[in-house]
């Protein structure tokens, strides 16, 4: 655990730097050089556009904007073709162009442990291709799942999904085949496929990466589902905060239609992107459908489940972007292949998204079952420079906080379920020892209160009261009675809220109190009668 205590060295030093001597170095300046640079939102936020602007006048450079490898700690990273695959130049600056042009100091992508040690399935070709090139998507194995599905009966597609053991990747972990099967069996004039792209859990970004990086993957997955349930309409409900993802998806849908691939069994399928307007609860499937119909994003009582009566009262499969993105691989490679990865009841790979005070934040796709600690050490590279670990939040704002002593939890649905925690959408946010747990707890409840849809009382009123209690404790005026009330309120919200927003929102707060009780009690003031 040395890594956690001391500041870790910067990632670059751990990478084997190699020089690639170009055989045609003498003529390098006479020839066009292809340079790959990610066009992903986070790569751009890290400075990729600054490089593109700076190098736009270089006449010997052909700049290709690609998806991202998800190794965001290296962004902006620049790549070139090398003798053994791509070479990369991490954290590039505009001044690095001569080195890159001459092939000096490039690192083989295959030699970067963060990438090499992953088991990438969905994200296998991320960072290689241009997002809107159907040819490249096909070359990377795309469209094979759909082609196989087209040759199968709907029942056989669903049977393969059943064999795969795929559980929904949005957070609820419901068996995907069951949802599809219910929608298939429900007779209706019209059925819908809806991709839940309202990736609202703070600390998660893998859906955004898919939509921006391999939009055809989502389209392919939705078409496979359309085939299985008999739908001819589909929507991608994309959150407002993802403008680039929405634009790329729309362009990819138009391109698929242009080349005549937007159909199943010869029947046209209409896909459309619908943009949300900043509501977190719209990630809950019934709220999402209310919003998609144009109304307030209010949660509905289930049953009926959307697979029976969803959008406009019709059978609707609502699945997460990553779920559709994984279905393509299952159909292409067979359900048994998928079931061979992961643990007994958590099949396949998990897309973990590392963030916070960690040395190597980024996307990590590995089979289910590794422990939180292994992931943070092996892929995360330990803490950010100078930082010491305090807690790790797993599963977004509805997840739990884990102190250092609990990091040996295996990342799979059952272990988390037993511990009363959730994997959510796979976000791991690392907090350092500078974190004020009372302030963080107040932050969580402020979020819950801000985002409550207001349908049920425990969440609407409970979150506001809990926020007020935490504000009082933070200001030094809280009492032991307030602590008891907070705990009571949390338990009530857990037991009686209509959806996971209110039902899970107390978890980060209550786990903060459980693991760091001293921080709360030392903030309490004297009881009122003693003042």
């Amino acid at each position: 655990m040395r890594n956690w205590r001391a500041s870790s060295s910067h990632s670059d030093e751990g990478l084997a730097a190699r020089t690639f001597d170009r055989p045609d170095a003498a003529t390098a300046h006479d020839r066009m050089i292809t340079i790959y640079l990610s066009n992903d939102t986070s790569a751009r936020a890290a400075g990729a556009d600054r490089l593109a602007d700076a190098w736009s006048a270089a006449h010997d450079i052909r700049l290709v904007r690609t998806s991202t490898r998800g190794a965001f700690f290296l962004e902006p990273l620049v790549e070139r073709d090398g003798p053994n695959g791509r070479l990369l130049w991490p954290r590039a600056t505009p001044e690095d162009l001569p080195r890159i042009r001459n092939g000096v100091g490039g690192i083989e992508v295959a030699a970067v442990p963060f990438l090499a040690e992953q088991t990438r399935v969905v994200f296998a070709h991320f960072g290689e291709g241009e997002p809107l090139s159907l040819d490249q998507y096909r070359r990377h194995g795309g469209w094979r799942g759909l082609e196989r599905a087209a040759a199968l009966s709907p029942e056989a597609v669903i049977e393969d999904m059943k064999t795969s053991g795929l559980r929904g990747r949005g957070g609820a972990a419901f068996p995907v085949w069951q949802k599809w099967d219910i929608a298939r069996r429900t007779a209706a004039d019209r059925k819908y496929v809806v991709a839940n792209a309202d990736e609202g859990d703070a600390g998660t970004y893998c859906d955004r990466m898919i939509m921006e990086g391999e939009p055809f993957r989502l389209i392919e997955g939705m078409l496979i589902c359309a085939k299985a349930i008999g739908a001819d309409h589909g929507y991608t409900y994309c959150r407002w905060e993802y403008p680039a993802a929405a634009a790329t998806m729309s362009a990819a849908i138009a391109e698929t239609e242009r080349v005549g691939l937007l159909n199943i069994d010869g029947r046209p399928v209409r896909l459309e992107v619908f943009r949300g307007a900043g509501s977190y609860v719209c990630g809950e499937e019934t709220a999402l459908l209310s919003s998609l119909e144009g109304g307030r994003g209010m949660v509905k009582v289930r049953p009926p489940y959307p697979a029976v009566a969803g959008l406009y009262g019709q059978p609707t499969v609502v699945s997460n972007v990553l779920t559709f993105g994984t279905a393509t691989e299952i159909l292409a490679r067979g359900g048994a292949w998928h079931a061979s990865l992961g643990t007994d009841r958590s099949k396949g790979t998990i897309a973990l998204q590392l963030g916070g005070r960690i040395a190597q934040p980024g996307l990590v796709e590995i089979p289910f079952g590794a422990t939180v600690r292994e992931v943070l050490e092996r892929f995360g590279g330990g803490m950010a420079e100078g930082a010491r670990l305090k807690a790790v939040q797993v599963g977004g704002p509805l997840g739990s906080l884990f102190p250092e002593s609990q990091l040996d939890m295996p990342l799979c649905f059952d272990a988390f379920n037993e511990a009363g925690a959730v994997l959510g959408h796979g976000g791991l946010v690392v907090f350092d020892d500078q974190t004020d747990m009372v302030d963080l707890a107040r932050h969580y409840m402020t979020f819950t209160a801000d985002e409550s849809c207001g349908k049920c009382t425990p969440c609407r009123i409970g979150s506001v009261r809990a926020r007020e209690l935490l504000e009082r404790i933070e200001s030094g005026r809280g009492t032991t009675d307030d602590m008891a009330l907070l705990s009571d309120l949390g338990e009530t919200m857990k037991a009686t809220s209509l959806c996971a927003h209110g039902g899970r929102a107390p978890f980060p707060v209550l786990t903060a109190i459980e693991h760091f009780p001293g921080e709360f009690t030392k903030r309490l003031g004297a009881p009122e009668h003693e003042r």
């Binding site: 600390g203 905060e241 949300g276 509501s279 977190y280 998204q353």
Partner: protein, 153 residues
């Protein structure tokens, strides 16, 4: 609010057999066109879509990204998702308010900048994150935020 432009937006969102009335989509188009949803637009939207005014008003009040009043020439959104908070975004926000002499959701006196908070922009691996209009900035430091603010006039 230019009436002719409102009428044009409403014409694009007229319900048809294939496309039922959609309040949110219509209001998003109005927000995009006018920068906010003026109160005077609620009745015409309700009439055009054939829905009660209360439903339209209810949708306006529900969504954070439908604004009821005009905002500044630029909107600066600071991410308060946990990954950004872990990297100090709440402190950036706390420093920003007195510097601009405004609170969240408010606009500077010169009408230049409105500041808002946002819960996660999916930029968690390169936070803290600031979004100005449609542009994202990652790994933002105090100094960068200060110069960023100056660069948007």
């Amino acid at each position: 609010m230019d009436q002719a432009e409102l009428i044009a937006v409403l014409r694009d969102h007229q319900p048809t057999a294939e496309r039922p009335a959609n309040i949110l989509r219509t209001l998003m188009a109005i927000e995009e066109r006018f920068g906010h949803v003026p109160a005077a637009a609620i009745a015409p939207v309700a009439r055009a879509l054939g829905v009660p005014e209360a439903d339209v008003a209810g949708v306006v009040s529900y969504y954070p990204d439908l604004h009821t009043k005009p905002h500044g020439r630029h909107i600066l959104r600071l991410c308060l998702g946990e990954a950004c908070v872990a990297n100090g975004s709440s402190r950036l926000l706390a420093d920003l308010k007195p510097r601009l002499r405004i609170g969240l959701g408010e606009t500077t006196a010169d009408g230049r900048l409105t500041i808002e908070r946002v819960y996660c922009l999916g930029n968690c691996a390169v936070g803290p994150t600031v979004m100005v209009d449609d542009q994202l900035y990652g790994r933002v430091t105090d100094a960068q935020l200060a110069s960023l603010i100056e660069s948007f006039r």
